[in-house]
Symmetry: C2
Subunit: 423 residues, 2 copies
Amino acid sequence: MTGRNAFYAQSGGVTAVINATACGLIQEARRLRLQQPGSIGKVYAGHDGILGALTEELIDTDLESDADIARLRYTPGGAFGSSRYHLGPLATHRRHFERLIEVFRAYDIGYVFINGGDGSMGAAWHLSQTLAELGYPLQVIGLPKTVDNDLVLTDTCPGFGSVAKYVATSMREAGFDVASMARTSTRIFILEAMGRHAGWIAAAAGLASGHEGEPPHLLLFPEVRFDAERFLARVEACVQRFGYCTIAAAEGLCDEGGCAIGALPQSELPSHTQAGGVGRYIAELIHARLGYKYHLALADYLQRAARHLASGTDVEQAHALGVAAVDRAVAGGRDIMLTLHRLADRPYRWEIGEVPLTAVANRERRMPAEFIAADGFHITDICRAYLQPLIEGEDPPPFRDGLPDYMHLGNHRVPRRLQAFLP
Amino acid sequence: MTGRNAFYAQSGGVTAVINATACGLIQEARRLRLQQPGSIGKVYAGHDGILGALTEELIDTDLESDADIARLRYTPGGAFGSSRYHLGPLATHRRHFERLIEVFRAYDIGYVFINGGDGSMGAAWHLSQTLAELGYPLQVIGLPKTVDNDLVLTDTCPGFGSVAKYVATSMREAGFDVASMARTSTRIFILEAMGRHAGWIAAAAGLASGHEGEPPHLLLFPEVRFDAERFLARVEACVQRFGYCTIAAAEGLCDEGGCAIGALPQSELPSHTQAGGVGRYIAELIHARLGYKYHLALADYLQRAARHLASGTDVEQAHALGVAAVDRAVAGGRDIMLTLHRLADRPYRWEIGEVPLTAVANRERRMPAEFIAADGFHITDICRAYLQPLIEGEDPPPFRDGLPDYMHLGNHRVPRRLQAFLP
């Protein structure tokens, strides 16, 4: 007896550990179909996520060895390709949903796993509802994934712990560099971190600071409206007191007008400065107003791809969620997203829970007020207690010839059975 | 019988391993003065390098425990502070040299170790010559240090191997990220690397590419004049062939006019673009001309401070040079810089040599023509054979609470004995 097959889609921006979730999911499916025949069949992965289902670009994960699937655990990026493709409303995009039914029926797909953020959970719910309405009920299960840590109802999101560890480490290291030369050279260092709507990643940089005076000195969050005069006064006070000032700024910083600062029209910037990112804006502002030389780092994709410095906690959680998704699917779960539930801070204990997709879809969690220092420029001890366990543990990949030995799967496409389809 | 004391100065931009050199030097001095009484006395470190000698801001390294000195091996930045201070010519700055003699005499300094790049070796030679002329002969020994890898007559420079490992790892990781989403999102990724005059660091990013088509696809070196049309044609061909294009660009890239591209006046840039760094220039150029969405990373200090990802080879060489400097000093060495001499590529074998300070002072080593691919956009196999051993080996620092457990020395200043001096 063969169980129904599964379709797995990576969705949205990739992370250092999304493949660890894929690894856990595929490993558990392989284990279960041997031990509980009829429970689950093949795992097909969509090439570029849900887009691969529309185009019938399906990857047969059975064609990968157990050893290669195990190596997914330590390979960053999205092994099968990811996308932010929107299926659209049924009223105007009925052909999308009819195509999905055609493909899912052809491959006897009974389980769909969507590995993504809040937008992807909205898409997962929409998919489930629409296909049920059209007479093809599926068990859709969401798996959290986002470096932004902005999903509600879960303690954290896989991907965040690793980017948090990366930015905190990077800030600590750069801080040692700047401190060495501040008296005669550069006094200002700015690290621009990801985070368009929430300051979780910039907050994590704050973990590098063990006590007052240690880098980073100032954090800039999207949750706190940027007040240039207050900020400049703090920078100057910091330089006077410690000899230098290090800053982690979230890319989504907003000013009194509410717009993202990096997107300000050039005419509104101080003269002779360039727009194009919050970090550069802040740097030029300090230079123009206080006259200090600055250095600016823009970690960009480096931060979310840095598997070499992944958090052990993050890797473990990402993998465990993949395993649990299969277990809950064969137990009948549907229209849920799996969550991480914190039982204790220190030592950190957690378990896997679940919430309805509707409870998390298209909702963003910003930093609570009690996580942000009263002056708006740093994190509180409550925030530290929350963040600390998420960056703990090291789980380096194997190295070969001095570099991480990451792996490309074969990604063998299933030969097409259906007519071509142009989404 | 007490040997003469030593003065150790960190000079110029700091690295992930300059403290490993300090560690080796202090450890060897401690060992020798026990085993060969009279050979060497205390090691004083200058606060902010040579500046600390002028201002009599001396750090007595004897006040640090053996355990803390050992921890220097894995702590980035310059533990005693570094500077690029210029003493000036004797004719106009005689008081500087007289002051140095006053301080060195007061502390019975017989050995001076300058840990820096080609400019610092010039300063070391100038110091040695001038003080001898003024009747205070010293044994001055230079220790190489620069992420730029641009010192002549040494196989490599401590600091470079680690930044090389960092940029190659970062490029590989970002490459996995970009490849995951290129079909539906970002097709262009640019990493701006350090290297104002020489392309060594950008070249090292090339190690991430095991075969054609693997990131990075294109490298931009200061040694190759930037030709925008040829470059854009290669970017487009790369996107057509592989679906995306990843680029590592040295910050010192030059165009036909010979000027650093990041310094071009804004009027010469394509309209609506912003100057301020080669990476952004290249990114905006691609966007304006080819229309592709891009992501840009600016590693800045992160690359040279990334001790968490240091090259084992680099750490070992940096430490060994510190040890050797003391040995050569007590054996009578003077006016030399220690070098690394390559005996074999694979397995890498090396030994420590020496050259006169005059042979390395103020000379820069750019990449030889045979290291650069015929089309100017990548490295050759000869270059790979040279670079490969320099990034090999991992030597991670200890971690505590999820972050590298770097250390601040006490840096106890010797109480001042002399009149204050304003340099």
